[in-house]
Structure formats: C-alpha cells, structure tokens
Symmetry: C2
Subunit: 376 residues, 2 copies
C-alpha cells in the first residue's frame, strides 16, 4: 500500500478514512453548498448567523431552500438528528447538537432525536445490545444537559420504541431493493441482515411526525455529511409514501486530538468525553497534535500552522466565540508570538469550565430525562 492509498478518502456512514476533501464530497454526494444568499435567507429567521454557519462548520445542504420557502408560506418543519450509542458522548458530538438547539429555539419547532442502539449493535462485531441500549440512556443525559426544551424534544430509543417505528420502516424497506442499498452503502455478501435492514429504521423519524400528530411537514436533518447516503434513499421514496423529502444541513466531522485531527472510538485519548475529569482533560489536551514546530526556537522563528492544529479547531468550533480574538490567536500563532503550551493551557481551562457546568446539568438531567422520551 502506498502512502497515497493510505490517505485515500473513504466516507460512508460507518467509515471515514484518509484526508477528507469536503468540496469533493459535495460533488460526489450531489449535495449543494450553503451559499451566502441561502445563509442570509436563514439568518432572517434566526437573528443573525449562528457561529457554526459563519465559520462554515455547517457547509452543505439538500433542500434547505425548499424548507425555508415552505416555512415562509406557513408550513413548519421538524428537526431530526440522532446518535449511535456505542460509548460516552464527546465534545465533538455536542457541537452539531448545539446548532440543532439553536434551530429549535429560533424556529420553535420539534426535534426528533434517534438513539440507534440497534444500528450500533448490528454493525459492530463485538457489540452487546444491552450495552448499546444502556449507552443510549446515558447519552440522552448529554442531550438534555444542553438545554433542549422537553415539550419540543422527542427522544426515540430504537429498541425500546420499535413499536412506533416498525410499520413505517416496513413501508420504507419494501420500496428499497438490495441493489439500491448495495450501491448506496457498499453492502457485500458478508453484510449481516440486520445491517441491511437498518437504513429503513433510520428513515422513519423523517416521517414519524405525521403519524403522531396528523401534520405532514418536512424534516430538516442537521448531521455530519457522512450520513447523507441514508437521506439519498429516503428522499427517493418519500413522495411515493406521501411525505415531503427530508431536507438536510450537513456539517464537517469534528476534529479529534490525534494526528490530522482524527478522533477514534478505539483511541479514547483523541477525544474529550463529557464525563472526563479535569486531570484527564489536561493530559489529553497536552498530548494533542498541534501545528507547532519541533522546538520553541523554531516556532518563534517560523510560526505555527493553525490550519492543522487540533487545539485551534476547538477554539474555532466551540471555545472562542469572539471572532476578533480568534483571528488574533491565529495571527499570533502564524507569527510565532504564541506557543502551543499557552494555547493548550487556555483550552484546558475553558474545556474544564465548560465540562464542570455540563456535568452539573448532566446530573440534573437524570431527574427530567424521562420527559424527553417520545413515549411520555
């Protein structure tokens, strides 16, 4: 295998490999970039542009324009996103949830949130279903801790709530051939039957609102772009079933602390989990991959590279809301005026402050999480 092969981009809902070329994903997946015009249309309803849009974390979409047009004419929409509960939640997961909460507040709309314990169980060889289910309930605490409105937030635990999902899943599954699924997801002869069926389950929350309320409105899905293949097939069959096509707004993958911003479930040191204690956070940040040079002297002379620095990405995405201060940090890094240690120390402080607050809210969430269950 050559270095080039190793670095080849592979992006599926279950695997992200190589250096991700986000512009190429727009081409390959056939999605649309978020244009300035569309952002302004959105901003009219949201009192300005959310940081994650302004900083291009969310950067691509399908039918966001359609959803906004409908909205302006009086047809609301629902939000839908989710989580594959195979372990604890990390900071990277929270970022798009924070954006989702912003949309929920500004548009005063429902969120359906799917905990896909079934998916994680069928795709991971060693997974135990009871463990995935348990992580689903654990992970819900992080969602609730962010301050979603219980009256507008409906968590679906797939295995527990399958009775709400199964009839719609059958309608979906009947209209997707193995051929289509194979082409879309790369299924092979060795793929198991649970995995093959699963895309039908993931489609259901796009359509569930009508069954629950009688209202036929589109779903808008904020999610990382690797999830797009699901919605491609869901969009193909939506209208045949009498629903709107689900719209999407796609974000980039959130960087971990490893080389090249990799975050891997198998390498817990590359992610800050929401339950991590301050000394753990300090250690992880201290060991993070940065854009710094080999020695302080070199770095002072040549400057660092914030573009590849995982620490800088944390400031960019979540921990420096002030654009001017962010620019100034970037400038000073490039100019060799600030060293990695200083950035790491500052980020550790902000992370631990955030986590201390979050962990308190997460404890309180235990008392109210039941109010967020779709069966309430």
């Amino acid at each position: 295998m050559t270095d080039e092969d190793k670095n080849e981009m592979v992006v599926t809902p279950w695997e992200v490999k190589g250096k991700v070329d986000y512009e190429r994903l727009i081409q390959e997946f056939g999605t649309q970039p978020l244009t300035e015009e569309l952002l302004q249309k959105l901003a009219k309803h949201t009192d300005g542009l959310h940081l994650q849009l302004a900083r291009k974390l969310f950067y691509s979409h399908r039918d966001l324009d359609v959803v906004l047009d409908l909205y302006e004419k009086g047809t609301k929409f629902v939000l839908y996103t989710g989580r594959g509960p195979s372990g604890p939640v990390h900071i990277g997961h929270l970022v798009p949830w924070i954006f989702t909460k912003h949309l929920q507040e500004k548009f005063e709309t429902r969120l359906y949130f799917q905990m896909t314990d079934d998916e994680k169980f069928v795709i991971e060889d060693d997974a135990k279903l009871a463990e995935n289910t348990r992580f689903g309930y654990e992970n819900a605490l992080d969602l609730v801790a962010l301050g979603f409105k219980p009256e507008d937030t409906f968590i679906i635990y797939d295995v527990q709530d399958i009775d709400l999902l199964y009839d719609i899943a059958l309608e979906v599954a009947k209209r997707i051939t193995y051929s289509t699924a194979k082409a879309t997801f790369g299924f092979q002869d060795s793929t198991n039957l649970g995995w093959i069926f699963w895309p039908a389950i993931q489609a259901v929350p796009c359509f569930l609102h009508k069954k629950l309320t009688g209202e036929n409105v589109p779903a808008l899905i904020p999610a990382a772009i690797d999830q797009d293949p699901f919605w491609r097939i869901t969009r193909d069959i939506a209208q045949k079933l009498g629903y709107y096509k689900p719209a999407q707004i796609h974000c980039r993958f959130l960087p971990g602390l490893g080389i090249g911003g990799k975050m891997s479930a198998s390498e817990p040191e590359t992610a800050i989990f929401t339950v991590d204690q301050p000394d753990i956070v300090k250690r992880k940040v201290w060991n993070a991959f940065t854009g710094g040079k080999g020695t302080l002297a070199e770095q002072k002379k040549y400057g660092g590279d914030p573009e590849v620095c995982t620490i800088f990405q944390y400031f960019l995405y979540l921990f420096e809301e002030d654009d001017k201060k962010l620019s100034e940090r970037k400038r000073r890094c490039i100019a060799g005026e600030i060293m990695c240690g200083e950035c790491k120390t500052e980020l550790t402080g902000r992370l631990n402050k955030f986590l201390a607050e979050h962990q308190k809210k997460r404890e309180k969430a235990k008392d109210i999480v039941k109010r967020f269950h779709i069966k309430r």
Copy 2:
C-alpha cells in the same frame, strides 16, 4: 418453455410450482423421514397415532427424536407455528392447526402462533399493511374456533407485538450474512430490504419462551415443508445464542380443488374458505378436479383414480376419519362402483356441516380472542 420445464418442481417458502416430489424434498432439504420407530415413540405420549400421522400427511422432521428424548428426561418443549395473513383462512390451513392442537393437548404445552402481517406486506407487491394486519385478527378467529386452550396459546401479531420480537430479531439478524440468506432463500438484487430482514423475525418465536418465562426449552414446529429453509438458518445460529435448535415436523401441502390439487390465493375457486356459505361450497366442490373419466360409461368401465382426485384428498385429510370407510371408498372408485357426483355430494354435506359448526365457534371466538394475545 417445454411441458417438462413448466412442471419442474420449485419449492421455497414463497413459491410452490410444478409437481411436488415429497421424497425428493426430504433429500434436497436434508430432513429426516418419519420412521415407524419414531412414530411409535411419539404415539406412546399421544394415546395412539393421530390420523394425520397415520395417513402420512406429516411425513418428515428435524430433531423430533431429540425433542422426545428430552421430554422423556423431563425437559418440555413449546410448539410454534403461524400464518401469513393475506386473505381468509381456508380448510387447507386448518388441517395442520388441528394436528398442532392435538400435540398441545397431549403434551400439555404452550403454542406460540405467529401472524406474519409484516411478511405478507413486504413480499406481495400490491399488499397494504393495514389489510394484512386486519386479516391477522380475522384469521386468529379461525385458530381460536378450533378450540385451542387460551392459557396455553399465545398469538403474536408481528406488527403489533414487534416490541417483544425486535431485540431477539437483531441478535439473529446480526449472525446471518446476506450470502447465507441469498443461498437459502434465493434472494436477488431486486429483493427488497424488508423481505431480506424478515427471516430474522420468523426465527424469534423459536427463542421467545426463554425471554418470557426464563425456561430454556426447544420449540417444535409443525408446518408445511416449504417453510424448512427458515429453520435451517435458525438452527445454524440457535446454539450460538444459547438456545436449543428448533425441531420440526413437516407436512405436505394441502390440496386445493384445481387441476393437480393446486390451491391458489389468486384463484379463490380452488379453496374452501372457512367463511364460505353452503351454496358457494357446493359450487366449488362441484367444479373440483377429480380422478373421474370423461363419461359415466367410461368411469363405470375403467374406474376413477383417487390418487389424483382432489375430492378424495379432502376425505383423506379431514372428512373421513374411519380408515375402513376410506379404503372402501377408494376401492369402489377404482372399481367404477362410485361416481364423482356421489363423492362430491357427500363431501359437500360434510364440509357444510363442519363449516356451520366452525362458523358458530368463529363468531364466539370474537368474545375471547383477546385472551389468546401474547400481550394479555
């Protein structure tokens, strides 16, 4: 297509074509014939041999000997069979249910009965799920009318009761690859995802008893031999999941009234439905395919052929319990002493008497059918 091609045997859980060679099915499916020795072993527990065994309607098995050995050592078993509700129940469906009831009574054991509205929906292009579900509840009345014990009979309506099934279905589905399913069921690229997943749902009642009661006992499945492929893959994974392999006892397909004993849902004239009225029954029987000759004179001279006669099969399977009278009818037919009209008239009388009783019990079943639901 040559005549030979047209008559080529195809037997899958969803298609039966051509002249069925039951002995060849034993070879091809790799099941065991019911030997005289095994029948005697069974008869010890059942006060003699049931008519459907004596007359070889049930003729093949997997692990019936194992189940009986376990039983004799104190490990009970549960019964499991089911029905794909895509229309009304006909007499042919009742025959193995009657045998199942006999086993339930003699072994004082539980029956799990699966109404597979999900299956029928995903395999039939034009099916509507609500219709299949409705037929499920309708068809349950026929089961109840046969006199099963409510305390020992547990009807599973797949869509309604999916919450009981889904976790076990995931455990099963995870352990069956597409490759295995393709080889077993002949799935193709054009097969839909619901159909592909479905074998995992059909496996669940083999294992459900342990979840409900904590008792790990084998399931014995009385069913037509075309269902065997399901149990082949279920048997392959049972022990990995900590269960006994399901055992089976296989029956022949029950003959309809068409040429060659065909019974087809698309040709309602070939089946006597349990809700048919006397004049309809009379007409269907009158138009049935028999072993008679073209003219009365010929038939008196050369005799008829009871082996191919659909009317005779009805006497054989259900409507002549007296072996001597059945033999006498056969002898007289071959000898040209009895004409088709006489047999048809007699069968019509017996059918209508049976149906009048059944329809009364079926009406009464409406009051108690809820007591048979697995969620009671």
